[in-house]
């Protein structure tokens, strides 16, 4: 440790687990890339996969605010819509070739959503209490009304003709592969950034606020700043998710980004476990795929979600993972400790 203190190098133990995780990611990426390329995964299924990765970005970023900071957000879809329209309008009108315009559009979407996050967050987060929930709920509703009322957003007819992310004339498979690559790596990036943030001193301050705001303040934590930081960061990623969604679907319909969608994202975060990033990922994957098998129950979906939400809160508020994380090294450590425990026992007898 003393050595490391001087150099600031990554400790060896961490390096190994980073390498393993990176390798696993790469293998997963290549595997699905090949499956899409050779047609094993058809366009419909790869479309669902795209939605799944977008949902992962949304759920993990929402978890940062609702799970780690402990503040309820009811307008995540609103920030998503801000990002979606920003990116779509940019690629539509910037005049840049799409291969350049799209990446810029993604960043721009995040930034504009983050600016909205500041506007919403400053009045709500200066105060203690549940104002963020109500103000984001209002925001989600109002932003939709504003989009509907404006001309440049296409109003109620929706925004049409959003360019595909590859130049015109590219074949469908390349397009699927490009979309897949974008959403996969952006989801990975989101998860890694939020994961690292939560484990930094800043993340600890954010978690401390969830645990006890008064004690955090008394421990020297600038609570308003950190609350705003986490919230704006989440808004940024929601905006990024919106930009991906806009270019995945190609048409923006303001009614898509309604309260139900915000609650759906919240449900994913709650089911996975508020405060567990891996839980969010698992829940986002499961809840994106599950409805595909329940096509006949479409009318009852939101009703079922509502019931699940209440039941989880009443009987298992920690969700699937609680505040724990799923990790390979954790599992290995548990297995080996069990083994050594069993060995010791064996010896004792």
């Amino acid at each position: 440790m003393t050595n490391q203190k001087k150099t600031g190098l990554i400790p060896k133990s961490k390096l190994l687990s980073y390498a393993v995780n990176a390798a696993l990611l790469l293998i997963t990426y290549v595997l699905f890339f090949v499956l899409i390329a050779n047609g094993t995964i058809n366009r419909y299924t790869s479309g669902i996969m795209t939605t799944m990765f977008i949902n992962i970005i949304l759920t993990v970023s929402l978890n940062l605010v609702s799970g780690f900071l402990g503040q309820l957000v009811l307008g995540h879809a609103g920030f998503m819509s801000v990002g979606a329209y920003t990116a779509a309008l940019f690629t539509l009108y910037s005049g840049l070739p799409i291969t350049i315009a799209f990446p810029i559009g993604i960043v721009l979407a995040g930034v504009v959503a983050a600016v909205f996050g500041v506007i919403i967050g400053v009045p709500a987060l200066r105060l203690r209490g549940d104002y963020l929930a109500i103000i984001t709920l209002g925001f989600g509703e109002i932003i939709r009304v504003i989009i509907l009322a404006c001309d440049f957003t296409g109003g109620a007819k929706g925004l049409r003709g959003i360019p595909t992310i590859l130049p015109q004339g590219s074949d469908a498979t390349s397009l699927s592969l490009a979309k897949y690559s974008y959403v996969f790596w952006l989801a990975v990036l989101t998860v890694v950034i939020i994961w690292a943030f939560v484990r930094s001193r800043h993340g600890r301050a954010v978690i401390a606020i969830r645990e006890d705001e008064i004690a955090a303040e008394a421990s020297g934590v600038h609570t308003t700043y950190y609350k705003l930081f986490a919230f704006v960061m989440a808004a940024f990623f929601a905006g990024v998710a919106g930009s991906l969604y806009a270019h995945h679907i190609g048409v923006l319909d303001p009614s898509k980004f309604n309260f139900d969608y915000s609650v759906e994202i919240l449900l994913m975060a709650v089911l996975g476990g508020l405060g567990s990033i891996t839980g969010s990922i698992i829940a986002a994957v499961a809840l994106t795929i599950l409805p595909e098998f329940l096509r006949g129950f479409e009318d009852y979906r939101m009703l079922i979600y509502a019931v699940i939400l209440i039941i989880v809160m009443l009987f298992k508020p920690s969700g699937l993972m609680g505040q724990h994380e799923f990790s390979l090294s954790g599992i290995l450590a548990r297995l080996s400790s069990k083994k050594s425990g069993a060995l010791k026992k064996g010896k004792g007898e």
């Binding site: 001087k6 190098l9 800043h202 993340g203 421990s219």
Partner: protein, 269 residues
């Protein structure tokens, strides 16, 4: 100011310039004077007790000192600088850390993290450095972990570093709260009923710990406590509050024999 005078002042500084002063401190809640005309001065490494019957306004004084409430009247100075109007977190940064009457730990965080949160304000790496895992991140985190473990070992908590704070037994939770306050590297430590709920052995141990941290971390301690043997045994100076006003102050011996204090305690409650 002449140079000579300045030097003189500096000389004085080292001996007994007060680290925390309160002058004419008062706050009114809806017409009620919860605290009125409270004044005291705390010297470096002094242990002072703030005592008085229930509802005398002791915790309110703590809340005034730490910026939770803004005083209606008066002045608070930390090392000669006014801290009036500063936010709680700023006051902590400047050097006043506290514990709470009803323990307020970060329950679901590890014991180690409880301490590390309070060290946050002294750390420097940016959010970006944290996210990217830049050298400054690893360097500072390693250093802070070592410092935090050292601090925990003062309170014999080093073996519980990985436990969740809420799983500690009561006495250890109280200790952890003191450790967390010290982690903010304060000049003044405010302890709100540190011995509450402790048995005589634990209380005796706590007395030793408080003296130890005073000597080791060079902090001045202001504490609220009901346990009279504890207060008499550890405090060098006492301030007695009743109905929000100071009714006596002085050495423990002077206060013990003060008729006003006796009356407040016997007749007050």
């Amino acid at each position: 100011m002449a140079l000579v005078e300045k030097e003189k002042l500096l000389q004085q500084d080292k001996t007994d310039r007060p680290v925390l002063e309160a002058e004419n401190l008062g706050i009114v809640f809806g017409g009620l004077h919860a605290v009125e005309d409270v004044h005291f001065s705390l010297r470096r490494e002094q242990i002072m007790g703030l005592i008085g019957p229930n509802g005398a306004g002791k915790t309110t004084v703590f809340n005034l000192l730490t910026g939770v409430y803004t005083p209606t009247t008066g002045q608070i100075k930390l090392e000669g600088q006014s801290i009036l109007g500063k936010k709680t977190y700023q006051i902590t940064k400047l050097g006043i850390a506290r514990t709470f009457q009803n323990i307020r730990l970060f329950k679901d965080m590890s014991v180690l993290d409880n301490v590390r949160v309070a060290m946050n304000q002294k750390m420097e790496y940016s959010a970006l450095a944290g996210i990217l895992g830049l050298p400054s991140y690893w360097r500072e985190e390693a250093a802070i972990e070592e410092k935090a473990m050292e601090l925990l070992s003062v309170f014999h908590l080093e073996n519980n570093a990985g436990d969740r704070a809420k799983n500690l037994p009561y006495g250890q939770q109280r200790k952890l709260e003191i450790a967390r306050a010290l982690a903010a590297d304060p000049k003044v430590l405010l302890l709100d009923e540190p011995a509450a709920g402790m048995n005589p052995t634990e209380t005796a141990e706590l007395m030793e710990t408080i003296k130890l941290i005073r000597d080791r971390f060079h902090v001045a301690v202001l504490l609220i406590e009901h346990d009279m043997s504890f207060v008499m045994g550890i405090c060098e100076h006492l301030v007695v509050l009743d109905y929000g006003r100071i009714i006596a102050s002085g050495s423990p011996e002077e206060v013990r024999t003060n008729p006003k204090v006796i009356a407040a305690y016997l007749g007050g409650e």
